[in-house]
């Protein structure tokens, strides 16, 4: 009898620690395309990051790059020729080896097809070469120190030439080279990932991941509460997150996000062509109310366009000071009797359900000066983009999600002459342009950081943008799901998830 009790106990303990072979994830995101040459949205990239690999990847939990398909690489003295030495054991799921020919095929294909993310490669790559079967060389048009960071993005992932056509985008299921392969994909219903037997690296901790797609945040929350999904990843509403935090069976995870939100000021449009007006607005915004009241603490105030936690960041924008804002406006003739009347634009759905509240909070913050009157205006995303490119809007809310994790991606697109135009501020400053080009050429991180400090200081003086807050990545899951890591890179790795009773 005693023996049976022991046997039973051992069995119970073993079973309780046994990993479940499937974890169900729910999301409100959608997959647009799984061809790296055309993939430029978060969730499609996220799937590719779990079924494919690139030359480099980020170390789990950090923003440090490590070699993956490249064993190592060399850069010439001028910083324009990169030679990658590839590992020899990497294969696609059908057994096709991933060699230098595959890389040349993939890079050239991205540039030729010129899909949405292609400019990340085509802007800087002069040519690609196969040195030998496992040595791949890339020559750049000009030295660009963030080039290896760009290679961490899915646009630079090699694709299987037997599957991906040379002259058109591919709409089918990718040929996997990463920990998972795609077993089933019913668009907008679910996608099933299962262990890739031909992957050279460590096996995933859970054999199968099922990702279920939901139309709204409220349904996703209900699905988590009723147990239909084990993990709810993107996008629960901030209030739902707070509610879920009170539940015993659910754990809420929070992590850094490189996503930033800011106000854009069209510096060519009156009255915003006056630096005093722009600085006054920067003094009047109330970041803490946005962060606490609208996002229930699930965001962080931001005082520079380079996010906190990234090297090169310096908090340069001032704290709230209504008196200072009033005196700056007084200098240019605005007071209680002659208030500054401005339009503030927002887009109601593109950034989630909280946007109208953010706009209202900003309006109240500006009007608290007593010398600013704000009219709130809104337009749907497709119209909004048209308006800011045409310079129709003078002051509006916008957000940024990086293509590569480098301060360059937070200053160049905003402050370079071409970038500022395409983001609606129409800002141009030759000194800033010169500094940013200089930083791009340098490889020494400290020297680059010094330059970015200067750029940020000029930004706080000229105020073509007012940084407002930095996102906090969130995820809610059943308490038995382990291995959830909200990384600074925003790569959500399904292959490290596992179930533990």
């Amino acid at each position: 009898m005693k023996r049976f009790v022991w046997l039973f106990l051992i069995l119970a303990v073993t079973l309780s620690f046994a990993a479940r072979d499937v974890i169900v994830v729910g999301t409100t995101d959608k997959i647009r395309t799984l061809d790296p040459a055309n993939c430029y949205d978060y969730f499609s990239s996220n799937i590719l990051q779990n079924v494919m690999v690139g030359l480099v990847d980020y170390e789990i939990g950090t923003s440090n790059l490590k070699p993956v398909l490249a064993k190592r690489w060399e850069v010439n003295e001028t910083g324009t020729v990169y030679t990658f030495y590839l590992r020899k054991d990497a294969k696609f799921e059908d057994g096709t080896p991933i060699d230098a020919h595959v890389f040349k095929y993939s890079f050239d294909r991205v540039i030729r097809l010129n899909g949405d993310p292609a400019f990340l490669l085509s802007d800087i790559i002069e040519k690609t070469e196969v040195v030998d079967d496992y040595t791949f060389r890339v020559t750049l048009k000009y030295p660009f120190s963030a080039f290896v960071s760009v290679l961490g993005y899915t646009v630079a992932y090699p694709v299987n030439p037997k599957v991906y056509p040379v002259d058109s985008f591919y709409e089918g299921i990718p040929s996997a080279s990463g920990p998972y392969r795609i077993k089933e994909w019913i668009r907008d219903v679910r996608i099933v990932l299962e262990e890739n037997p031909n992957y050279f690296g460590e096996k995933p901790k859970t054999k199968r991941i099922v990702i279920n797609f939901y139309e709204s945040a409220s349904t996703l929350r209900l699905a988590l509460e009723t147990g239909e999904v084990d993990v709810a990843y993107r996008h629960l509403d901030p209030r739902d997150i707070i509610d879920l935090e009170g539940r015993e069976d659910i754990v809420v995870y929070k992590g850094n996000s490189p996503q930033i939100r800011y106000l854009v000021i069209n510096v060519t449009q009156p009255p915003f062509d006056n630096a005093n007006v722009r600085q006054a607005l920067a003094y009047a915004v109330n970041r803490s109310v946005i962060v606490e009241d609208v996002f229930a603490g699930l965001a962080k105030p931001l005082y520079s366009m380079i996010p906190e936690g990234m090297w090169g960041h310096k908090s340069v924008f001032p704290e709230r000071d209504l008196q200072k804002a009033k005196s700056l406006l007084k200098e240019v003739g605005y007071d209680e009797n002659n208030p500054l009347v401005i339009d503030l634009w927002y887009t109601p759905t593109h950034y989630g359900t909280t946007e109208a509240d953010v706009a209202q909070v900003l309006k109240e913050a500006f009007e608290e000066t007593g010398v600013i009157k704000v009219n709130l205006k809104y337009a749907e995303w497709s119209t909004y983009v048209e308006y800011f490119l045409n310079g129709t809007m003078g002051l509006f809310l916008l957000g940024w999600y990086p293509d590569y994790l480098d301060p360059d991606d937070y200053v160049w697109p905003f402050l370079s002459e071409s970038g500022a135009k395409s983001l609606g501020s129409f800002y141009a400053n030759p000194e800033v342009e010169k500094l940013m080009i200089e930083a791009r050429k340098l490889t020494d991180q400290e020297k680059r950081a010094e330059i970015y400090y200067k750029v940020q200081e000029i930004l706080a003086q000229d105020v073509p943008y007012i940084p407002l807050w930095q996102g906090v990545a969130t995820c809610a899951a059943k308490k038995q799901v382990k291995g959830i890591l909200l990384e600074p890179t925003q790569i959500f790795r399904y292959y490290i998830l596992y179930w533990e009773e």
Binding site: Y40, E171, T226, A379, E386, L389, S422
Partner: protein
Amino acid sequence: MSLKNYVITRIVLAIPMIFILLALIFLVLRIIPGDPVLAILGGKAPKEVIEQKRHELGLDKPIIVQFFDYIGDLLKGDLGKSTLTGRPVWDEIKERFPATLELTLFSFVIAVLVGIFWGSFAAYKRDSGIDIGARMFSMVMYAVPVFWFGLMMQYIFGIVLRWLPVGGRISPTVNLKVITGVFLIDSLFTGNWKALKDILEHLILPGLTLGLVISSVFVRMVRNNTVLTLGQDFVKAARARGLKERVVLFRYALKNALVPIFTMMGLQFALLLGGAVLTETTFSWPGLGSYLVMKIRYRDFPAIQGTVVFFALIVVVISILVDVINALIDPRVRY
């Protein structure tokens, strides 16, 4: 006019109607602000990429050229490619439509059953509690927003009672071989009873939500028509002959009351397809309604046009079918 000629005339007349509808949609989409290329690429992409994409999609051509290009392709059976995904619109419609059809048919059956039985019974028991209940039900359900009703259903049956799933078409862990795209049929074809049960469970809440909301029209119409018919001479004559009340109600009164209701059902069915939009969004139902909403948000011109044309065709086909069946039921109908 014979029935055959009538059907041919209706089909011929439908062609310019669809053409006008298409022209209107085409024009409206291009007049309202919002650029599909910018909606996809945002401000991140360089100007050359934006211009190239616009050229690829033919959006840099004059509107009239774009229109005739589109009509030319349409006549060849090509609905174009989605600007958002780059996939043929027809493929996307084919993927989404079975979900909408499944939900619509299920809701329709609920609406008709509730409508006929409750409506006719209320008429028969005029001014009783059942009748007052039916009238209250019609009034409340007609006024209630479908998404709110859906949320309440989710809360009660999904969260509180935990009886039914709150979203999607099938549980993430249930495997189903997709053949037709109508999951109920696919599970029956493959003999997958576990999937069938799961699919039915997923269908109940959105189906009931939409079905009960639509049934409000039927309950009222069936009740009113049956009340009128019950007062007519042929019903009195039937009663006088000593026929059972059940026979009088169903074979005499209801059968005659159903002719105008049948036309209404046809129209309601066509409207249901479009009306499923809010239900689909509330229950994360991956059908054509939620597809259209997403595509409008992104100004995906070919997808919006394709979906509208597809809906229009369905409405035309259904209304012709309704007229034909009406003619067969009631020979007095002349064309």
